[in-house]
């Protein structure tokens, strides 16, 4: 059974259409990410679920009950904001108790117990009496998370909760979110523009582009089998090269040919190759290219190469050293290329 069902959600501001009919169902306990660049409508969709924005058309159902026109406080949800939105005049414990108090959940003692449990989950039970501004950014974030899970909502909404943290804290919080989700099994809708977050946290990723769902699926499936050029370039840095398909081979602009593992209709198409799937060598590869730039990344090098007049990016081990201007060859296993519509 789905905890959250969105049917034909449309949203326009004046003449601008932000969402063009979104259909989405989230199963109980599922962790779904809305992934997309800024302006793709993902945050608007989340706010519609929360009841903070109205819909122009379509319906929202939470736990099988239609809530399209109910105000936020009548919906069984909790939302965590990018800016955390902790109430500055209340202590950590009072912030976490706030949803319980407002929704009238349980007795005072019962509420205190639930606050304590929620703060233990995020490992902040020793900070209960502090004010939000006495905490670090990472701690404030965890208070916001505790406040979101304390009321055990039917649907948990997370609006880019990790984007204000530095890289190290973000990775820690990712692990923490995975563990908390495994423990509590809250139905979660997570908005992010960061593909790594979406891929590492979710059961299912919904890739959005221009107010539409571009593609959805399990992270692995989405990453390995993108169906459009957009999906392919947004998830992992894919090299997209215009080619012509002829006799099961991709023909490049300069006449080079690459055998394909999959059948594809003859005619113009786009060849997608991920930078980590391409093997770079001095000689012996299937395709010839020229080194344009070399970037040292620490654990390896990134090379920018010229392949048939197109710039492509390739990752290579540090043992290989090519200089700009050198000739190089590329090989890629037939199963790792994708042919997309031109």
């Amino acid at each position: 059974m789905s905890d959250l069902t969105l049917t034909g959600i449309r949203k326009s501001y004046g003449k601008t259409d932000v969402l063009h009919g979104i259909d989405l169902a989230i199963r109980s306990g599922e962790f779904v990410s809305l992934l997309g660049a800024s302006g793709c409508g993902k945050t608007t969709l989340l706010r519609i679920v929360a009841g903070l924005e109205s819909v122009s058309a379509g319906a929202v159902a939470i736990g099988g009950e239609e809530v399209t026109h109910l105000p936020p406080e009548k919906r069984d949800i909790a939302m965590m904001f990018q800016s955390y939105a902790l109430l500055p005049h209340l202590s950590v414990a009072e912030n976490v108790r706030f949803p319980l108090r407002m929704r009238g959940h349980g007795s005072r003692a019962d509420q205190a117990q639930r606050v304590k449990t929620a703060l233990e989950v995020v490992r902040l039970d020793t900070m209960a009496d502090r004010l939000p501004r006495q905490l670090s950014g990472g701690q404030q974030q965890r208070v916001a998370l505790a406040r979101a899970i304390v009321s055990n909502p039917r649907v948990l909404l997370l609006d880019e909760p990790l984007s204000n943290l530095d890289a190290r804290l973000r990775e820690e919080m990712q692990v923490e979110l995975i563990e908390i989700h495994r423990r509590l099994r809250l139905t979660t809708l997570f908005v992010t523009h960061d593909q790594d977050e979406a891929l590492s946290l979710s059961d299912r990723v919904v890739l959005m582009n221009g107010g539409r769902i571009e593609q959805e699926g399990a992270p692995r499936a989405l990453y390995d089998r993108p169906e459009t050029a957009f999906a392919s370039s947004f998830l992992g840095a894919a090299n997209l090269i215009p080619v012509t398909i002829a006799a099961g081979e991709a023909v490049f602009a300069d006449g080079q040919r690459l055998a394909l593992g999959q059948g594809a209709a003859a005619g113009p198409a786009t060849l997608a190759m991920r930078q980590e799937d391409i093997e770079l060598s001095r000689v012996g590869g299937a395709l010839r290219a020229k080194v344009v730039t070399r970037v040292y990344l620490g654990s390896r090098h990134r090379y920018i190469l010229d392949l048939a007049g197109q710039r492509i990016s390739v990752l290579a081990a540090n043992s290989l050293t090519l200089e700009p201007g050198d000739d190089a060859t590329l090989s890629i296993s037939a199963g790792r290329t994708r042919i997309l519509p031109a």
Binding site: E73, M79, S83, F98
Partner: protein, 273 residues
């Protein structure tokens, strides 16, 4: 070193004005209030508290200022909230509308109220026609008239102080409260109001001091019977020419306002400190 000198240079005009225009006259007033024919005396203060007349004026002054402040806060808070949250064009119009009363002369404005509130005036007549009040009912020369006239002028101080503070609050806090089960009014009470306390304190401070020290509006709308302290001072200076007694009254007004405001400021400071 130069930094410090520049700081002093920048401060100098303001400090000079404050010293010459405020501290010096206040010192002179304090000196005058304890000055008698034979040097130091507290006789002026003794005279103030001699019978119930002057204390009752003091009490009326403080009481009216409190009522005016409270009404300004109750009317001003929702208005300031809407002004802080509406779009910039509407906000500009509302700000203009709010400060419009300040742009007209106090005399003209007050005479306008006199016309409306007098026995044959529109407001008094309407109230009589609706069956409230007796045959000779009128609002002129009542405390109500003073309150109405003062609230109109002092409302902008409350609204603008509150608007500044509410405008700086993150609207996400209100949205967060809504997603946590707060109704709109609940959000006002549990989130916006507590966080707007500094603005409320600043606005109340302005309204209260201005209300307690005003005398044109109270004397015109309240009449001779409903005297306030500032009016009494004025009368002593211009009519009885008893400057020592006037200085004593001014000192008492000054001390009375300070006595009420200091704990109030503390309240604002603590809630947010």
């Amino acid at each position: 070193m130069t930094d410090r000198r520049e700081t002093w240079l920048l401060l100098a005009p303001g400090l000079l004005l404050l010293a010459l225009g405020f501290l010096l006259p206040i010192a002179r007033m304090l000196a005058l209030s304890v000055d008698g024919p034979d040097g130091f005396t507290l006789s002026a203060f003794a005279r103030f508290f001699q019978d119930g007349y002057y204390p009752s004026i003091l009490w009326r002054t403080v009481w009216l200022a409190s009522i005016i402040t409270a009404i300004c806060a109750v009317i001003g808070f929702p208005m300031a909230y809407i002004m802080a949250r509406c779009n910039p064009t509407l906000r500009l119009w509302l700000v203009m509308l709010v400060i419009l009363p300040l742009m007209t002369s106090v005399v003209i404005r007050t005479f306008g109220w006199m016309v409306l509130l007098s026995r044959s005036g529109l407001v008094s007549r309407t109230i009589r026609d609706m069956g409230f009040g007796g045959r000779s009912f009128q609002l002129m020369q009542t405390e109500t008239a003073i309150v109405i006239g003062m609230v109109q002028v002092l409302l902008p101080f409350m609204v603008l102080s509150l608007m500044g503070v509410i405008g700086r609050l993150d609207p996400r806090l209100e949205e967060a409260a809504r997603t946590m089960g707060c109704t709109f009014l609940g959000t006002m009470r549990s989130v916006v109001l507590p966080l707007a306390v500094p603005g409320l304190v600043a606005g109340s401070l302005l309204v209260f001091t201005l209300a307690a020290s005003s005398f044109v509006t109270p004397s015109l709308l309240g009449g001779a019977r409903l005297e306030v302290l500032a009016g009494a001072v004025y009368k002593n200076v211009t009519q009885t020419l008893d400057w020592n007694f006037a200085a004593a009254q001014a000192t008492i007004l000054f001390a009375g306002i300070a006595l009420i405001l200091v704990p109030y400021l503390r309240l604002g400071g603590n809630r947010h400190g």
